[in-house]
Subunit: 141 residues, 2 copies
Amino acid sequence: MTTPADVDAVTAANQELYEAFEVADLDRMEAVWDDADDVRCIHPGWPVLVGRARVMRSWSVLMANTSYIQFFLTGVTAEVEGDVAVVTCEENILTGIEDPEGGLGGSQKVLATNVFRRRPQGWRLWLHHASPVLAPSETDS
Amino acid sequence: MTTPADVDAVTAANQELYEAFEVADLDRMEAVWDDADDVRCIHPGWPVLVGRARVMRSWSVLMANTSYIQFFLTGVTAEVEGDVAVVTCEENILTGIEDPEGGLGGSQKVLATNVFRRRPQGWRLWLHHASPVLAPSETDS
């Protein structure tokens, strides 16, 4: 059963993932992720990265190559089953990178699935899967 | 703890998702998914679809518009935490659709995250998130 307190705690953990990236704080990013070797991360268009060392290195590289990034999350939905929580959300992203295609002007929409595990110290990220939205939104169909 | 029996059962449930699509059997697809309104499905490039009715309609449309499709799964990794299982896999897809870009010749690679819940009747799909791989594989880096 999903309690309001669970949803609040999971939503806060989810928000922390994006804030850690926004301020490029690798220590905070390391605290977001579960301290386990079965963590998995799929950045948009990337292959799956498995294991804490590999996942953390990818965030370090992304932070080093991002001058500015801001996330506006919409459609945040959290469901809890036992000690696992599944969050989906739309990442509406503003970046300092100029879009070479010219179409989106440095903004883009990405869909994310974030799966958390309940640990003694709180909810920790187990899997992050982010992918670009190419089709019109659900409400357009 | 992830037991070998759990992994086998989850892997079989994961395989059934793809076989149901290959043979375009909507009844089998309906049995794959959990009978719950919080199921979520993200097809490659699509927005998130929430709820059993909407998710099932999307599969029905995909089946109706696919003359031939075959999945070769690689990198299937299943981890269980309590009554939730998280599977990631690479969907190596052959379709009957000619690729208008000419580059891939009807084959493509998609990454999927499939989250299952343990139910009295077995593992049932709670969330499917599939997205195209655009970057070189991990082993190339």
